[in-house]
Symmetry: C2
Subunit: 396 residues, 2 copies
């Protein structure tokens, strides 16, 4: 079903490869970018689950949030659990007995697809900030190349959450009739100033770190303090204040860490001494070890700059040529980054563009992260949406 000639074995061409996907595909030698210029000899990393039908009409393409890899679920090639393990598999919402599911690592990321942490073939060293400007449209276009490379003319459904939700919209705007259905989860047609402010501050934390060195940091000395702050701010805004009140309230920091070592954070200058600080630090340390700072900067800025209305003048006009039949738009009541108001905008745009659209604002404490944590509600909503298709209902 794939084209072996275009597929690469996993190789060590990445400067940073904490978790690469199990498959990669070459992009065209000169892959044009939305903001100008082209990417030479790029690759896109992906994983798949289930089997592509003979008619090649049962494919679901999944775009991820900013920090996720293409490893959305366990597979024979990589049996470790993925980031959406509960959602993908036989009998699950993305039922692999029925669907061929493809998850793509975002172009510009650092888990297998070409990005700022990759080697620039023109000069033989890491791109860094010499990587050309990345747009959400480029992530969509790289996904589209992959889909075409797999011999699929029309997807059944594109699914995406967060940045992936934006990518779904870019995909629909760029590629007419490329999918019958979409599921947009906590995405946005154009970010609002609160989210832009938060993300711009996250980027400032990284670029203000003296170890950033205008993007030319070494693999051995990366801007870890800036990355930790960026991730803490992310973590704060990905959840809800009410969830933390219930989980942490004013519980104190533990003197001893889970492993038994003394909690050295107790000596952090001007720490206040609360468990919430330990939680943020643990999240931040994990992230700063696994994600490339320049990739973060490129992807984060792309999210701020994405504006669906740049395609044909309005959100609805942008989506019209896509000819989407059914859209499911899901948001979360407590999401402060990708707000319920933005979900209503997205749903309205699909509706006006002619899609039969269902808008669902889930009541969850988990905020923007709900799709990763409060899985049960998403399972039901997405499972029902996918199963409700009459065309496949006969054969499914």
């Amino acid at each position: 079903m794939s084209r072996p000639a275009r597929e690469l074995a996993v190789q060590a061409s990445m400067a940073f490869d904490e978790r690469v996907a199990s498959h990669r595909m070459r992009l065209p030698t000169d892959f044009p970018l939305y903001k100008g210029g082209a990417l030479r000899d790029g690759v896109v990393a992906y994983e798949t689950w289930g089997r592509l039908s003979a008619k090649r009409d049962n494919a679901i393409l999944l775009f991820t949030g900013l920090s996720a890899s293409a490893h959305a679920a366990a597979s024979p090639a990589d049996p470790t659990p993925g980031w959406w393990e509960a959602m993908i598999g036989p009998g699950r919402a993305l039922d692999t007995d029925k669907w061929f599911v493809i998850c793509v690592n975002s172009l510009g990321g650092c888990f297998g697809s070409t990005g700022p942490a990759s080697i620039d073939p023109a000069v033989g060293r890491v791109y860094g900030t010499r990587f050309p400007e990345l747009a959400v449209e480029d992530i969509a276009a790289a996904g589209h190349e992959l889909v075409r490379g797999l011999g699929i003319v029309q997807l059944d459904t594109i699914v995406g959450a967060s940045l992936g939700g934006m990518t779904v919209l870019a995909y629909a705007a760029l590629f007419p009739r490329s999918t019958r259905r979409v599921v947009s989860i906590s995405g946005s047609a154009a970010a609002r100033p609160f989210a832009i402010a938060m993300r711009s501050l996250q980027r400032e934390a990284i670029t203000s770190d003296p170890d950033w060195l205008a993007g030319d940091y070494s693999a051995h000395r990366r801007p870890a303090a800036g990355m930790r702050m960026a991730r803490k701010l992310g973590t704060i805004t990905y959840r809800s204040a009410e969830e933390w009140q219930q989980r942490f309230a004013r519980a104190p920091r533990q003197a001893v860490k889970p492993g038994g070592a003394p909690n050295d954070l107790l000596r952090a200058p001007f720490g206040a001494g609360f468990a919430i600080e330990d939680y943020l630090e643990a999240q931040a340390q994990k992230f700063s070890r696994t994600f490339d700072p320049n990739c973060y900067l490129y992807l984060s800025r792309a999210m701020d700059r994405f504006d669906l209305a740049a395609h044909r003048g309005s959100f609805a006009a942008a989506l019209e040529p896509a000819g989407i039949e059914h859209a499911l738009v899901i948001g979360v009541s407590t999401d402060i980054l990708f707000t319920p108001a933005e979900q209503r905008e997205v749903a309205q745009a699909f509706e006006r563009a002619g899609a039969r659209t269902r808008l669902l604002i889930l009541d969850s404490l988990e905020g923007h992260d709900a799709f990763l944590v409060d899985i049960a509600q998403f399972e039901v909503a997405i499972g029902e949406f996918l199963a409700a298709d009459r065309r496949l209902g006969a054969t499914g």
Copy 2:
């Protein structure tokens, strides 16, 4: 009305004195601190408006937010407008034809009262992080010394917003029957993890700045990048997402600054190009020029650690000895730092402690900053509360 022997002329003993208050009073030579130790030869800066009555029973004490000076309104000594100019004066909510209004610069701050930026008399150089731990209770106690120094046995009303709202509660817990009434604005009896997370991250931005030098920065090279980030995060959380959507939406950065100079922020690494970024930067630059980083760290941590229930076991028990007759508790619907739920807690504590209490959650887009911006609603509420007093009604 004041005691000249205890009052000092404004003098240049501060390492940092962008805006000192027009009056200062010495604290007792050894001023004991709530968390231990004592402060030697401290001073507290303040300003006053109106006249203290012969019976000394018309005094209103005003505690400020983290970053404000005691210059709440213009006066003959300093005719520049203050931070609450519209609220204080003849015929205004804090009517100086009737009331003697005292505003105190928080102990630990950098606008005249002793704090980490002051000279440690024991060694002849700036305290820096050798300043002892500061608690909200210490800010209250310094205010109480000032009140006693002015010969006032019982205040009519204590008013405070934000950190000042916390200080009002600490004052009531520490000093029985020291005031008849209180106005608590957007305060908290104990901060919640969302606010603690935000403030701990602000402090981390400062202490991660290489120019912080463990608090021993010079006046010529302060941790400005860290301070700017801390203030940006503050500014983001002091307002509401909805206000920014209405004010800025996705307006682009201006190529030219208001003064005519080119906007050099356009070249900031990984800026996204939106007006909201210029706004945050302008706020941040102003703040980083006028506020001392160590003072910020001490005051911010004190807010996190304040817990009214540490006094006698519960919020209500803490307030009982105060014998408050009337309490007005004001919060703002869109305040994400000092939430409406926290205002309800404060009001409930006053009610249970025996005060006739009015809780008012104002519908405002301005978030935590509403008391500084959306003045009209506060004028009415506070003006009515103060005027509704029968005792003074006969003479006022």
